[in-house]
């Protein structure tokens, strides 16, 4: 394995994370926002796997499973919220939800 290969993976994950983060901040469509969050989570997963490989430690890969489980749960809740919102106001975006701030 070339010594620069892990760095490439880390760079890729940093780029993915940045794309996800910017997307989360600029887009108003809740569905897209959730996708951005997914993107960020998977960027993090990629770094975990990379570091695990670099340090010869299996726990980096184990944590990925936990992240996936949590991400799945998050998507379930998020999608349920989106469906509920779409039923009430099909054209609503994330900023319209600020009425719920209490």
């Amino acid at each position: 394995m070339s010594p620069n290969l892990p760095l490439a993976y880390l760079a890729l994950s940093a780029i993915l994370f940045a794309i996800g983060g910017v997307g989360l901040l600029v887009r108003r469509n809740p569905l897209v926002m959730i996708m951005c969050v997914e993107l960020m989570l998977n960027a993090v997963n990629l770094t975990f796997v990379t570091f695990g490989k670099m340090l010869d430690d299996i726990s980096g890969q184990v944590i990925v499973f936990f992240v996936m489980v949590v991400a799945a749960a998050e998507v379930v809740i998020g999608l349920a919220l989106i469906v509920a919102m779409a039923r009430r106001r099909p054209d609503a975006n994330a900023d319209d939800l600020r009425l719920l701030r209490g």
């Binding site: 983060g21 989360l24 009425l99 701030r101």
Partner: protein, 661 residues
């Protein structure tokens, strides 16, 4: 048998609860009989327990019902300590209270709040029993406050009249001053010993630092001064006579006001551990109170006021006894005083009742013919308090004087002068009320009575003026004004009390050790610290003869002044005495003028600094929150940005702190 102990306070408590809930429905006279039965049952239980206590080791028994306040190292139980001292107190409290309950059935007849009166009385007896039976200072304090509250309720029982309501308030507020001392004393006991239980801290008292012991005693003494009406906190007791007469007899003569003496005797090991000047303070205040109150009693015209000042004076004797180390003598005098003073108070109540609520002694006279039983019992009480042998007061007063002489001649001389004054003013009262000319007969005519009522109303501004007006209005609206003997429920307690007032001296005759029953009985409680007094036969004889001569001299002077009119009474009844040495008015003036300014200053400080701090904190919190809440905008992407910025800041901070070398 002795384990029935809990029943003694439980019965009055049950009576109180029953009357509280159903009193109105039960009505007169059964509410009175229930109250009387509860207290009488308590007395019978006390006698049974007393019999059982003989078999207990050291005549001491304690019973813990449950833990009341567990808080770390500090714990207070609802527990009773039965020892010779509390047993003696319980016996005379329940006994006299039962008689006074019985008396009240007759006295309160026709009162619109008849059941409520007995509700309060039962609550009072319960509180008083908690006071003397409690095995720790906090429980005693519970009873202490309970009797204070009942005293307040009962002084202002006829609260329709402003004067009665303010007399109640005066008693309550003056007592608070003393209660402060009691509380600080209790805290100090806890800091010094880590416990407030008598059996745990009293034996350790001798190991206490002298200054600590002195401080504790000084504080507890302030508490006792308030409750037992000693100078300068005695001003509430004469006003407390605004309450119904049975209340004056029970609470403000026989039982509650002796609580301070009880407390002093209870903590006698701490007195022994205090600085040597402390007993002098107690004895000094006691004898000063005895003397000053006796001089005031000389010039009073209200039949109950004389007895009230006389009570203050006798309480002074008890404190004198405590101060000179004669604890037995203090308890002995407390018991005999309870008998003869209750007897006389009830007697005065009977007179007031028979005279249609007349309280001014100048309008009485020659009542022995129309009220023979009242007169005879009152006369026995009079002979007892005046110290005429062989009545009870003679023995107990002489016991105190013997201890006083052992300590100092000055205390003894003042004690003797007070004894002379006592004999004098009590004889004055008896002569004015029961002997001499019948002054009530003069005011027989309606016009005269009206004129009289008018006069009193305009000259005297106190509560009593209204009563006179009412009394005369009543008397003349209906039928003719006839003094009459009271019903049997009132005369039976009088007879019983008079009997004990005559013979209670047998409890503690000074001739041989065997006759000193009370002294031997109290030995386990006070024996270690009591002044040891060994009088030779001749010393004893001289003291007894001196006391008798003084008593008879006082009576003789009063006879000369009030029956033979050899001396004008006005030369003896100085305005200084009639106005109570101007103590009351001085306090009023101070509180109304300079004191009031001081209090306003304190109120200002409270408003600006204390309230300002509290409100300031609240205002700052609210203002801060108003600004902070704008952060929660509801824009999810804004939150995400905040999280991102926060993460960047934290990472940047970490990077500056960590070196990767």
């Amino acid at each position: 048998m002795v384990s029935l102990l809990w029943l003694i306070p439980a019965l009055p408590l049950a009576g109180f609860l029953l009357l509280l809930l159903l009193g109105k429905r039960i009505g007169e006279p059964f509410a009175g009989w229930i109250g009387t039965a509860a207290v009488a049952g308590s007395f019978i239980t006390a006698v049974v327990v007393f019999a059982g206590l003989w078999n207990e080791p050291e005549h001491t028994y304690s019973l813990k019902l449950f833990e009341w306040m567990p808080a770390g190292r500090f714990s207070v139980d609802i527990g009773f300590l039965l020892d010779p001292l509390s047993m003696a107190m319980i016996l005379f409290i329940t006994g006299i209270a039962a008689l006074i309950h019985l008396y009240s059935i007759g006295y309160m007849h026709g009162d619109s709040r008849f059941p409520r009166f007995f509700t309060y009385l039962n609550l009072f007896v319960f509180s008083m029993l908690m006071l003397v039976m409690g095995d720790n200072l906090v429980l005693t304090f519970l009873g202490w406050e309970g009797v204070g509250a009942c005293s307040y309720f009962l002084i202002s029982f006829w609260f329709e009249k402003d004067a009665n309501a303010s007399a109640g308030k005066k008693a309550f507020i003056t007592n608070r001053v003393g209660d402060w001392g009691f509380m600080v004393g209790t805290f100090a006991v806890f800091f010094a010993f880590g416990t407030v239980k008598y059996v745990e801290f009293l034996p350790k008292a001798s190991g206490l630092a002298q200054t600590t012991a002195t401080f504790i005693m000084l504080m507890l003494f302030i508490g006792a001064m308030g409750k037992s009406a000693q100078i300068p906190l005695f001003i509430w007791l004469p006003d407390a006579m605004a309450g119904p007469t049975p209340v004056s007899a029970l609470i403000h003569a026989a039982t509650m006001v002796t609580a301070g003496v009880y407390l002093m005797v209870r903590v006698n090991p701490i007195i022994a551990a205090s600085a040597s000047w402390l007993p002098w303070v107690i004895a000094g205040i006691g004898v000063a109170t005895a003397f000053i109150a006796a001089t005031i009693a000389i010039a009073q015209t209200d039949i109950k006021k004389v007895l009230a000042y006389s009570t203050v004076s006798q309480l002074g004797y008890m404190f004198l006894a405590v101060g000179v180390g004669g604890y037995t003598a203090a308890i002995f005098h407390m018991i005999t005083h309870a008998f003869f003073k209750a007897c006389m108070f009830l007697g005065s109540g009977s007179v007031i009742h028979g005279m249609n609520d007349e309280q001014d002694m100048r309008r009485m006279g020659a009542l022995r013919k129309v009220m023979p039983i009242t007169a005879i019992t009152f006369i026995i009480g009079w002979l007892a308090i005046a110290g005429v042998p062989p009545f009870s007061g003679f023995w107990s007063k002489d016991d105190i004087l013997a201890y006083a002489l052992h300590k100092s001649v000055v205390l003894y001389v003042f004690g003797l002068i007070t004894a002379l004054l006592t004999a004098f003013y009590m004889s004055r009262q008896v002569f004015m009320v029961f002997f001499g000319k019948a002054n009530w007969a003069e005011s027989h005519g309606a016009e005269l009575a009206n004129k009289l009522a008018h006069e009193t109303a305009s000259t005297e501004g106190d509560a009593h003026a209204d009563e006179v007006v009412d009394a005369h209005a009543d008397a003349h609206a209906g039928q003719d004004f006839h003094p009459h003997e009271s019903p049997r429920t009132m005369t039976i307690p009088l007879i019983v009390l008079a009997f004990f007032a005559a013979v209670a001296g047998l409890l503690n005759l000074p001739f041989t050790e065997n006759l000193e029953f009370l002294k031997r009985w109290l030995e386990p409680v006070v024996g270690a610290t009591q002044t040891q007094l060994h009088l030779s036969g001749s010393q004893l004889a001289i003291e007894l003869v001196t006391s008798s001569v003084i008593a008879l001299l006082g009576i003789a002077i009063a006879y000369g002044v009030y029956l033979k009119h050899k001396v004008d009474a006005r030369r003896i009844e100085l305005p200084l005495f009639a106005n109570g040495w101007y103590i009351d008015s001085t306090i009023s003036n101070f509180m109304g003028g300079l004191g009031r300014k001081g209090f306003e200053l304190v109120a200002m400080f409270d408003k600006v600094v204390i309230d300002g701090a509290v409100n300031g904190v609240a205002r700052a919190t609210r203002g801060g929150a108003m600004r902070l809440r704008t952060v929660q905008s509801g824009y999810v992407r804004w939150y995400a940005l905040m999280i991102g910025v926060g993460a960047v800041v934290i990472v940047a901070f970490v990077l500056t702190q960590v070196s990767f070398s």
